[in-house]
Symmetry: C2
Subunit: 401 residues, 2 copies
């Protein structure tokens, strides 16, 4: 067993410091892209990087990079995560990957000296859609996927001294591997009492909007048999969404998150209902099959009830498998430090899924207590935070030394 | 068979005239209490009453009465309906009872001369809650049920020259019987091809607000088996509401008209859902039993799913049976003019249910084409409008001559 000698208290202190930046009076923290709290957090991380002996610099979109050169040139090994948060965000989402990455690299540099190849830590500027209607702003810039910049974002960039015309210069083609430590944000590890997981894939998502049209009628004067109640029909469909996903088993999930009835009056039979379905699976074919079964059962329910049905695809994102070699290396790293890692599909999106377009990517998950995330209650056992950081450090050692 | 010689074209012309007062650019008409359109409609009806030889007067809340004295003194026989409309209201709701009542009384006066006892037509100022958070404003004033007047309503009354301090003087204790012709506002008569119904009772209503509390979770990271999805639970309850009412048969109806999910995000499992249930039945015990079965099944669903359930009674109104003698008289009147009348429970509320507290009340329904009401499509076959008016006239003849 190899000990990576991670400084747990230092890790916790850094997490506390970041969590305090953007703290909201009613709980949690909020660091929207290019906001004041965001800028202060970026400065803090930049200072930590410099203090750790890394060469720090900000790229044109505000990603902060801390680099240790290697004995050899070549493509870099990178770790990190995003620095922005949702409103009322927790202490670990994104922040853990940055603090743990920095602590791991710092430990390696002081224990093992200069690496064989370049080793970097990155604080990615935005992942959450925390302020603008954009997701993965930072990682999309790194992969060169951003074309024109929305005027509103451009204005916010200028306020932070960033030049929107230079976004293309954020693109990197000198990265070999990106490894990210993140909290699970779900309850699988916590409920099964496993301390760690290697992510096998990030799920693909399809988001649908379903419109059910019946006929609005007076709730008192219309006998049950003469109704075309859009909400009663939609209720059957909502139940079907749940039971189909259940019947397929993990990692299939399907969720109805939004629902709206019209005319939305207590004494009127709803004539129209609009609801959303979020369908996810790690396998593209399985996700398509899940979506198809849901569509088909909704159509059957609508037809039985004389309702009209319209299903619109709002958004679709393919599953992203993690690099197979990296998955094996992360599992070995876990074993090396005396632990074992489960294999888990990530149900949430992460920067890694964007970066996978150009680099080898891998992810580690530590448990979220009670599965809670995106809220002030977001927490992980400190021993598991240290374990995750140790495994990350060991993986970086295997990759960069 | 007795012919009542109702002037159908005159009836249609009056309905057209009233429908034009308050016509909305995007369809239907709107005559909210004490508004401009309302005031013009009241003036028009008042002029019709005077032209028909009736003594017309407005009471302190703006109900307009047209009275023919009888040979004898004593309590009056009254017919009529309400003059206000919902937004985008149709041509017949309320207006029919006024126009048909006036046409019937006018016909009786010209054919049969002075009645034995006082005979009146009334245009009730408000029934729909068309402007203020009040229902049955006019009929409540007539029965003396209004205590203090809300300041907002008082201000609107003064604009129309009405003195809110005198509301109590609108109360009448010299009414014997109130008979109202109304459209069904549902599809029972139309779908069963019956031209007319005598109302047996006006349903009792209970309105409930149900709050289902589970746990908001990430739609991607929370496996189906670890969820406490408030919306999936609520969907089961919404289906149960429908199937319980169906299984009890007419006149039981139960409707979920409003539903709201929190946090109402496409990628979050709903942690809380609030929905309403409107439960109606003509029999108080049956309505209570229906409500109880719904509450019990909702509790079972909540318990099976580990959800919290809170059911709050928003409003409750007891069923109001129509006067038995009057029901028989209306059925006889239908037979006298060569028709037959079905018996029907009214699923909607009507002024008659308020007036029943002090007077004998009875109601006649004519069909609503396609069951449509409270919309511009509200319509009845002209021959059925004449038939309803003939039966009303015959009933008034039996009562007042």
């Amino acid at each position: 067993m190899i000990s990576m000698r991670i400084d747990g208290p230092l890790l916790e202190r850094r997490l506390d410091e970041l969590y305090a930046i953007g703290a909201e009076p009613d709980g949690g923290t909020y660091r929207p892209l290019y906001g004041d709290a965001w800028a202060r957090a970026v400065e803090r991380v930049e200072r930590w990087m410099k203090d750790a002996g890394l060469q720090a610099h900000r790229d044109p979109v505000g990603n902060v990079w801390g680099r240790a050169e290697g004995h050899n040139e070549g493509k870099a090994i990178v770790t990190g995560s995003h620095i922005d948060t949702v409103r009322h965000g927790g202490r670990l989402d994104g922040a853990l990957g940055i603090c743990a990455g920095l602590t791991a690299v710092e430990t390696l540099l002081s224990s093992n000296g200069k690496p064989r190849r370049p080793l970097e830590v990155v604080a990615i500027c935005e992942e959450e859609g925390s302020r603008f209607n954009t997701n993965f702003w930072g990682s999309r810039a790194i992969t060169g996927a951003i074309g024109t910049v929305d005027p509103e974002i451009a204005a916010a960039m200028r306020e932070r001294g960033l030049d929107p015309a230079k976004v293309a210069a954020a693109a990197r083609d000198d990265i070999d591997t990106f490894v990210e430590l993140h909290i699970e944000q779900g309850g699988v590890l916590d409920s099964s009492r496993q301390p760690l997981a290697v992510v096998s894939a990030i799920v693909g998502t399809a988001q649908l909007e379903v419109t059910v049209t019946g006929r609005a009628d007076h709730a008192g004067t219309t006998p049950m048999g003469l109704r075309r109640d859009a909400l009663a029909g939609a209720a059957g469909m909502i139940q079907a969404v749940e039971s189909i996903a259940r019947s397929l088993g993990n990692p299939a999930v399907a969720t109805v998150g939004k629902v709206r009835a019209e005319p939305d009056q207590i004494n009127v039979v709803p004539g129209r209902v609009v609801f959303t379905i979020d369908v996810r699976h790690a396998d593209l074919g399985a996700r398509a099959a899940l979506e198809e079964r849901i569509r088909s059962l909704c159509a059957t329910i609508a037809s039985e009830r004389g309702l009209e049905l319209d299903v619109r695809l709002l958004q679709e994102r393919a599953p992203v498998p993690m690099d197979a070699g990296l998955r094996a290396l992360l599992a070995r790293a876990a074993k090396d430090v005396g632990s074992t890692a489960a294999e888990l599909v990530s149900g949430a999106g992460h920067d890694a899924q964007i970066l996978a377009a150009r680099y080898k990517v891998g992810m580690l998950f530590v448990p979220s207590i009670g599965g809670r995330s995106h809220c002030p209650e977001e927490a992980t056992d400190p021993a598991q935070l240290v374990l995750g950081t140790e495994v990350l450090a060991r993986a970086l050692q295997l990759l960069a030394y």
